[in-house]
Symmetry: C2
Subunit: 255 residues, 2 copies
């Protein structure tokens, strides 16, 4: 029988060193094995003797099981996730694998280390668009029927939440973002601020500020995060610099 | 006329050093002036020559204006916020102050540095309760009428979001968390997992896992964050360790 291993599910944030926590760096440095999507692992310095297990995008459940099997074999595994592993990333897949897997997996030493998620990185660049009540919704319908997504979008619009859209589009799902915009345009004001934040924190970072009526959903790709404002989201123009976008902490009431 | 100052709105996370970003540490170390709520500033090491401007809790807009006036006077200010300044914290107050304030304030060099928010810290300790679509709602009705909060709670429940409750209670608002639980109990299953996460990342951290029917809302205080599960949120019992809590990435559909 092997000495007990461990699994740490580690968030490395959006991609720049300034936004990675000391805990994440320490867990990665001390791991015997790194598991993760190739481009995330490639951002990390090579450490002698440390094994790397790269995988493609998708197949999260299989990647989670691979990491659990390594920990079961006595390895000290860091499963590396972009952003925060707890927000539309690898942590849910690991706990689902444990829940549905071998009973012995429940005794593996497993813990999560949080990271800066894409929505926080985008919000920081813009001002404070998430300054008040908001929802985060994944537009992927790989694991759930599209009507569930529509129901959540409609509920979020009806209650005037700021709406953050993760996974707006991919090569195999280019159309859902168009469906989502059609739905939201029927429920929210045309002038609602909409932000497309691409690869924030990385070299190819690009942010554009639009309106719900004017935005072109086909500009969204796999690395895009979209923020759709509430009725209290404001754009503050500035002379030479890009405008600020923020959501007021209060709601104006006519008396 | 003074040389241009600057304002950095800096998130220091939930309170432990392991979860503060290198960017936040650098901005705090290089600031000429720190502005913030007393207990946040007290967590930071003293730096010779650096001025501290402590304030009480609340009065966010006045604190934001004070920081902007210092930057206007040529100071290099770090406005220190717990968690992520963009999520129910100081950033929205600063941009609201700029929006409604002197036109010259729009030219001040202002930027936000994100941090780990309380919901991420709590989620990391539990497993992956925010593993799928979620809403974050502040229960404070200081700046908005309570019916807005009720509307958002009802919409979030109707569309089966995981619901994160910030600011559940304070000395002046002890009752709203009871109102919120009454409303949610009428709309969601009695067995829905509910988590009370107190001061995660600090010495007095305490987490309890309850059900919607069984939870006692009067246990919530100013440092408590509450997570109310969706119908896909699961509790995974373990032998000697606390259970994991996660939200499945998919939705089961009867065919």
């Amino acid at each position: 029988m092997n000495a007990p291993g461990s699994l740490r599910i580690v968030g490395i944030g959006p991609g720049c060193e300034a936004w990675i926590t000391p805990e994440a760096l320490r867990l990665i440095a001390h791991a015997s094995d790194l598991v993760g999507y190739g481009p995330y692992l490639e951002r990390l310095p090579l450490i002698e003797g440390q094994r790397r297990h790269q995988s493609g995008n998708g197949a999260e459940l299989e990647r989670a099981r691979h990491a659990l099997r390594l920990a079961e074999d006595g390895r000290h595994v860091a499963l590396v996730s972009g952003g925060d592993p707890g927000i539309f990333a690898m942590a849910a897949a690991v706990f689902e694998a444990i829940d549905k897997g071998d009973a012995g997996w429940r005794d593996i030493d497993v813990a999560v280390s949080p990271g800066i998620s894409a929505m926080q990185a985008a919000a920081a660049r813009l001002g404070a668009p998430l300054g008040h009540d908001f929802c985060a919704i994944s537009l992927s319908d790989n694991l759930k029927p599209w009507p569930y997504v529509e129901k959540r979008l409609a509920a979020a619009a009806s209650a005037d939440f700021v709406i953050v859209l993760y996974n707006p589009a991919s090569r195999t799902r280019p159309h859902r973002i168009h469906d989502a915009f059609s739905l939201l345009r029927g429920l929210k004001a045309a002038a609602t601020p909409v932000v497309f934040a691409h690869a924030v924190g990385r070299e190819d970072e690009h942010i554009s500020i639009e309106t719900l009526a004017g935005a072109d959903p086909s500009l969204a790709g796999m690395s895009t995060l979209i923020i759709v404002g509430s009725s209290e989201t404001r754009i503050v123009p500035r002379g030479s610099a890009p405008p600020f976008v923020y959501t007021s902490r209060g709601v104006k009431v006519s008396r």
